[in-house]
């Protein structure tokens, strides 16, 4: 059993109501264009346009040094520490002596 608002006639009336709900656009294109905010700076590559060869390649390479330096930092730190800290087997006692004195200890010779 169809509800009264589901009959074909009711569907036609619904379409007619929907069609009568018209909206007249009021926005002004010129006004919109006059209010355009400044765009963000274009891609770095194009900002460097005119540099040697392709600006995009140079821009990309120059951008690589930061993450590369960050990635290398733990490795460098590990290398410095491993050469400064005592190894415990006595073969680098000079380094361990320096480390103990530097840390404010009394110093010892392993």
């Amino acid at each position: 059993m169809q509800e009264p608002h589901e009959t074909p006639e009711a569907q036609e009336r619904l379409e007619a109501w929907l069609d009568r709900y018209t909206v007249t656009p009021r926005a002004d294109l010129e006004h919109l264009l006059s209010k355009l905010p400044p765009q963000k700076a274009p891609e770095r590559a194009s900002a460097r346009g005119g540099r040697i060869g392709s600006g995009a390649i140079w821009g990309g390479l120059l951008d690589l040094w930061r993450p590369a330096a960050l990635a290398a930092l733990p490795v460098l730190l590990g290398f410095v520490l491993s050469s400064a800290l005592p190894t415990g087997n006595g073969d680098r006692w000079e380094a361990s002596e320096q480390w103990v004195f530097a840390a404010g200890g009394e110093g010892y010779y392993p």
Partner: protein, 182 residues
């Protein structure tokens, strides 16, 4: 009306700061977005603001448009709807609605003259937002159900169901209103 290729080309130009390409896209989409925003919010002033804010976003973020994920129209309607939902959550504060004639509870004067339109507007406003959006996008904006699904971020079946329920609820409300008023 643009083809997909023409739209894609213009969006690329907009991303490079081409104002002429933006003006061409805006001339086509500004009235459409305003109509959608007005019907979605029930307030012409808000519709105008939503359309302008959506096109500002196109101007600023054209580089983020991915044609592989859908047409420009679906991207813009999606932005407009998201802005509408954001503003609704914020209680319309940032738009400074205190100064607008069509603020909450006060009907727009233009719509006052069109009682049928006002009835439909009021009935639409009673629908849950998803049903309303699905109906508006398919009926007034002429989007396919697949495109509506992209705008709403839903599956095709869910959209079909939303549109059926929206039409049913809207028809019922309008029939009841007319039964009460001879």
């Amino acid at each position: 009306m643009f083809t997909e290729a023409e739209e894609g080309q213009r969006v690329c130009q907009v991303a490079q700061g081409d104002r002429q390409a933006f003006a061409e896209l805006a001339a086509y989409y500004l009235p459409k977005l305003e109509q959608y925003g007005t019907r979605l919010s029930g307030r012409p002033a808000l519709g105008e603001d939503l359309a302008q804010e959506t096109l500002f976003q196109l101007w600023l973020e054209a580089g983020r448009f991915d044609p592989a994920r859908g047409r420009l129209s679906t991207w813009l309607y999606r932005i407009a709807r998201n802005r509408f939902l954001d503003q609704q959550r914020q209680g319309w504060r940032w738009l400074g609605l205190e100064s607008l004639a069509g603020r909450d509870g006060v009907p727009d004067p233009e719509l006052e003259q069109l009682s049928d339109a006002r009835e439909v507007q009021q009935a639409l406003q009673r629908l849950p937002e998803r049903q309303r959006s699905a109906l508006l996008l398919s009926y007034y904006e002429g989007l396919s159900q697949k495109e509506v699904a992209q705008v709403l971020g839903l599956g095709l079946r869910a959209v079909e169901s939303l549109i059926v329920r929206a039409r049913r609820a809207l028809g019922k409300t309008l029939e009841e209103q007319h039964a009460r008023t001879p």
